[in-house]
């Protein structure tokens, strides 16, 4: 156990292996979610589980197709896999529809988030770095978007384009562009005068390099913290539109649509509404909680700087 000996074993490994081992250990350390409360740890694990179940829904043994009847109409919940939440008015498994609905919702919301992040970060960087006209434009856009209820914006667009998964994704993608742009803009303005940016400029870095390689990495924690609550907002908006009948078109399972569908029979089969409600409330709760957790970590990090 001499220091020399330890050193020998490390060098005996091929260098890339040692690198990998160290990276892996750092990854594990991060997986312990430092300073997370039990509810926060639960939320993170719930979201990981939800994504895995949604991604591998086709490989869950015994799970029936969400679009075909599998049993009695409106059968109450029982302890079989497909009957866990009961069956809907057409005899389809509600659990299966909740799971495939999760996949649909996650795909739409993730794609919309990517759209709004890419556009928002781009616009926000232009606004924060060059100020002037770009800043006024971005401010006007962000103010306008926040002055209207998200459901109304999408309804107005849907009134002319009609409903489909594609228009749903694109219109949801527009909603948060202003928010991401505003946060990026604020971040760029606060970072722009720091010494490391000055140093990069002194070394001859151009605008693109300063923005993308120097400033952007420092905005990652702040931006990451706002993603989960904004995604939760998109899930609620998407659910509201499906509930109102302007969301994902009918046969495809969606949480909002399932809740709307079960209200016709709710006085006779109140238990059948439990599944989709549980899914959407838990998902939104978990996303909000993870968002709070990340925001607190950003706060701690900022104070340490």
């Amino acid at each position: 156990m001499t220091p020399g000996k330890t050193h020998d074993t490390t060098t005996a490994l091929p260098p890339h292996r040692a690198e990998l081992a160290r990276g892996w250990r750092a990854g594990i350390a991060r997986m312990r979610f430092p300073q997370s409360s039990p509810l926060e740890a639960f939320s993170i694990l719930f979201l990981i589980g939800l994504v895995l179940i949604a991604a591998f829904a086709d490989f869950i043994p015994g799970l029936v197709n969400p679009n075909f009847p599998y049993g009695d109409f409106s059968a109450p919940p029982n302890w079989t896999l497909n009957g866990l939440f009961g069956t809907d008015g057409l005899g389809r498994s509600i659990l299966s529809r909740v799971i495939y609905g999760a996949r649909q919702t996650l795909i739409i919301v993730t794609a919309a988030t990517v759209i709004s992040m890419v556009c928002g970060i781009f616009l926000g960087m232009l606004a924060g770095y060059f100020r002037g006209f770009a800043e006024h434009g971005v401010d006007l856009f962000a103010n306008t978007m926040s002055s209207l209820p998200p459901v109304l914006i999408i309804l107005a667009l849907v009134s002319v384009t009609g409903t489909s998964v594609l228009t749903m994704t694109l219109t949801l993608g527009i909603l948060d562009i202003g928010t991401y742009a505003r946060i990026t803009k604020g971040g760029v303005i606060s970072q722009n005068d720091r010494d490391y940016v000055l140093a990069a400029r002194a070394l001859g870095a151009g605008h693109g390099r300063v923005l993308l390689r120097e400033i952007l990495p420092n905005l990652v924690p702040t931006l990451t913290a706002v993603v989960p609550p904004l995604m939760a907002g998109l899930i609620i908006t998407e659910g509201s539109l499906s509930f109102l009948g302007f969301g994902i078109p009918a046969p495809a399972p969606s949480w909002g649509g399932m809740i709307a569908g079960s209200t016709d029979l709710i006085s006779r089969f109140p238990l059948l509404i439990f599944g989709p409600i549980l899914a959407i409330v838990l998902t939104v709760y978990a996303l909000n909680t993870v968002g709070d957790f990340l925001a607190r970590r950003v706060d701690i990090r900022e104070r340490q700087l």
Binding site: L148, S159, G162, F243, I266, V284
Partner: protein, 321 residues
């Protein structure tokens, strides 16, 4: 009195003027919407069996064959004279229809806001005083759980509970206040509760954190040293300095309440703005959709002007410019 109120009025005017670009952007976007329709807008609205005469008539009335900027100038000119166009099928003036519906929505939204504040602010004061206690933690968890309940879930659950199981409240419908005040109240309770699930939690959360921050201030310590009771300190020293933040949140929640009214009104069959916009979207009634967008933005601008005015009234140190 007159001279002291003038700067406030001026500030209000400035804020309202600042909202004009937003208003212009939204109305122009709303006019340009019809260009997104597949094929010609008139054809899409009237359906595939429309005759050329019908299409020509619709184009003459609404100008869907003109470029967007011409349509916009025409709309803007009419709107400035108070003419927002006519509804597509019943040919009623949009402004008149909208005014009747807006009153219903405002009644519900206003009642929900008052109710939420009345529940959340005293609770938040009490919990800020015993922050970290068991009751405080329980309520904080309850608040974050309630924030995760979308309006379309609360309408279903609360109507199941109060009108199907308990049979206390009517499940659907609406009675105008001036026809039957008591009936109006009975129909108002469920929609207000549904909107308040989210609002109570939101106000509680913001207000509690704000009160807690105020409690850390030095002037609270000196008030305690003077021997005031905790209750007196909470109501007389903590409440007012914390109000600006609560006021901001009230302004922001207007947008939420209007968005929530779409769900609540369609579920309970209440003839308000939300219900109107849904049928307008179904009918491709673009004049109506546009008018509702204008109204929403106007409300937003007006509310935030009032919020700014409120800052100055609450805190004399805020300078009115």
């Amino acid at each position: 009195m007159h001279s002291s109120a003038t700067p406030y009025l001026k500030a209000l005017g400035t804020r309202l003027l600042a909202g004009i670009p937003v208003l212009l952007l939204v109305t122009f976007a709303a006019t340009a919407l019809s260009d997104l329709m597949a094929g010609s807008a008139a054809q899409a609205i009237l359906g595939e069996f429309a005759t050329p005469e019908q299409i020509a008539q619709l184009n003459a009335a609404y100008g869907y064959d003109l470029p967007a900027w011409q349509r916009y100038l025409r709309w803007l000119g009419n709107a400035l004279q108070g003419d927002l166009g006519h509804t597509l099928y019943s040919q009623q003036p949009v402004a008149q229809v909208l005014f009747d519906r807006a009153l219903v929505t405002f009644e519900i939204a206003f009642a929900a806001m008052i109710f939420s504040l009345a529940v959340a602010v005293p609770l938040a004061l009490a919990m800020a005083a015993r922050a970290g206690g068991r009751l405080d933690s329980a309520l904080r968890f309850a608040a974050s759980a309630m924030l995760a309940v979308p309006t379309f879930v609360s309408v279903v659950v609360l109507s199941l509970l109060f009108s199907i199981f308990l049979r206390w409240l009517p499940a659907t419908g609406w009675v105008p206040f001036f026809d039957d005040p008591l009936g109006n109240l009975r129909h108002l309770i469920l929609p207000v509760m549904c909107l308040s699930v989210h609002q109570v939690a939101y106000f509680f959360r913001v207000a509690r954190n704000e009160f807690l921050a105020t409690l850390q201030q030095d002037f609270i310590a000196s008030a305690r040293a003077k021997g005031f009771s905790t209750r007196y300190i909470l109501w007389h020293h903590v409440l007012r300095p914390s109000l600006p933040q609560v006021l901001t949140v009230m302004g922001l929640s207007m947008t939420y309440l209007l968005g929530g009214s779409f769900i609540v009104e369609s579920f309970f069959a209440i003839p308000g703005i939300g219900w109107t916009v849904l049928s307008a979207v179904q009918d491709h009634d673009l004049a109506m959709v546009q008018a509702i967008l204008v109204l929403t933005v106007l409300i937003f601008v007006l509310v935030f002007a009032l919020v700014d005015l409120g800052y100055a009234l609450i805190d004399p140190r805020v300078e009115v410019k």
